[in-house]
Amino acid sequence: MSMKLKKVSYVYSEGDAFEKKALDEISLEIPDGQFIGIIGHTGSGKSTLIQHLNGLLRATSGAIYYDGENIYQEGYDMRTLRSKVGLVFQYPEHQLFEVDVFSDVCFGPKNLGLSKEEVEERAKKALTQVGLDESYYKKSPFELSGGQKRRVAIAGILAMHPQVLILDEPTAGLDPKGRDEILDQVALLQKERKITVILVSHSMEDVARYVDRIIVVNDGKILFDDTPKQVFQHYKELESVGLAAPQVTYVVKALKEKGWDIDTTATTVEEAKEAILLAIKKREKIC
């Protein structure tokens, strides 16, 4: 279901000495089935922004529409919204509390008031989707490795069948393989379930590799909102707000500056490789 933000502002501790505008008139449209990356340095307002999408924070002014309905209108069911817009917080494994993995995943759907069969059905499916088989069901979450715990936590959100899945730095603290595994799984889910995925990340390389659209947040405003290729063309502006482009983008840019005839929009290793090989061929022809 599509989401729409209209001039959403959020002010912390309004009216006293610590007043701070965390979001400043953000307008945004999130259509179905997109894979979106949100980037911005710590304190840019990106965490505040995603907490608005499922109604955990209420905008000081502006409106948010989910599936055409204003979520701030009277009588709007926030709980349904939260089940439709699933938010996986940073270090989500810290929220696990049940005696075993399976019951923990059941917590979300149970809160939706579903029947026991439906709850268990959903939990099983969600656990399968994050790559945990039945041998894990009865294990205590605390026996698992960091990466596995995180999968359990993600399954806990998936079991509510969200239409929009927001992940706040799902790879923080994981080793390189663990990072790839989680992101691959999310990408697969996005394709299979055709849900919208919003990935908040600090890693430009990860964002460039997976998403179709990047939203750059800075100082509570949207700085860029475009495809990765387009956004990373502005690497100088990104640097000035404490961000950067993927390493490979710098390589092709540097080659261009050295006078190479090369496409500078590469943002992934694969694209950079193609671009460089093509450019080498062109050079050989000239020589």
Binding site: H41, S145, D175, P176, Q247, Y250, L255, K258, I276, L277
Partner: protein, 281 residues
């Protein structure tokens, strides 16, 4: 003689089942031989659970080896008498910035170590000043740690160790919980410490970009050292690293791919500049 010398070092712990019986014995560190020279910058890589943290905690005498020997600056860590001297010699910085700051004001936290060592008051102040300056946190000395960014907190934690005047500093994934800017701040502070103060640094991490400045890289897997060498030697082996659940910096990977496609490039490239230079030749 090296500042840290380990031979056949091992650490075992037992996992108990519900009835209190030993379910299995886990060898977190398994036969590690290590020789770190004074003043070196050594990076230890390895996936989660590869035993690298356990190794680090042994160097600081928080964990006692179950097997093998480990000498820190000539002191046997298994000797009870040496524990406090070992901890003075090899300081340790941990992963979570919040859980290792004891003081409620930056300067008081940095003074905590020297206080424990029984340093006279005036000297504590000198040490606090010099160590906070060495990590660039002097302006923040009166602040509450809770108000600092992650990178700043870790720099305070490093200053807290530096104030104890250690010969060696062990950093156990100090950047795992930080954002890219925080990571850069911390690595810069560690490198400055290593180069200017000549403190031996042992950096445990799984961010590959942080390793390229090291004098020596060690890769651990399953409690054992599986690769050892200069960053150049290690990153030349892209496929082996992948096998150990690790990665290489993006430029290194790009160079590796280009080489495979027949482009004439050196065996290992670690930075953007190097790659551009090599391609333009």
């Amino acid at each position: 003689m090296g500042i840290i010398e380990a031979a056949k070092l091992a650490f075992e712990y037992k996992k108990y089942d519900e009835n209190g019986e030993v379910e299995e014995t886990i060898r977190a560190v398994d036969g590690v031989d290590l020789d770190v020279k004074k003043g070196d910058f050594v990076a230890v890589l390895g996936h989660n659970g590869s035993g690298k943290s356990t190794l680090a905690k042994q160097i600081n005498a928080i964990l006692t080896p179950t097997d093998g020997t480990l000498y820190v600056d000539g002191m046997d860590v298994r000797d009870e008498k040496n524990i406090w001297d070992v901890r003075k010699t090899a300081g340790m910085v941990f992963q979570n910035p919040d859980n290792q700051i004891i003081g409620t004001v930056v300067e008081e936290d940095v003074g905590f170590g020297p206080e424990n060592m029984g340093i006279p008051t005036e000297e504590i102040w000198e040490r606090v000043e010099e160590s906070l300056k060495s990590v660039g946190m002097w302006e923040y000395r009166k602040n509450s740690p809770n108000k600092l960014s992650g990178g700043q907190k870790q720099r305070v934690a490093i200053a807290g160790v530096v104030a104890m005047h250690p010969k060696c500093i062990v950093l156990d994934e100090p950047t795992a919980m930080l954002d890219p800017n925080g990571r850069k701040e911390v690595i810069r502070a560690v490198r400055a410490l290593n180069q200017v103060e000549k403190v031996t640094a042992i950096l445990i991490t799984h961010y590959m970009e942080e390793v390229i400045y090291a004098d020596k890289v060690i890769v651990m897997d399953d409690g054992k050292i599986v690769m050892q060498g200069t960053p150049f030697e290690i990153f030349a082996q892209v496929d082996t690293l992948k096998k150990y659940r690790l990665d290489v910096p993006q430029v290194t990977l790009l160079a590796h791919e280009l080489r495979k496609a027949g482009v004439d490039l050196p065996e290992c490239v670690l930075s953007t500049e190097e790659l551009v230079k090599a391609l333009c030749q």
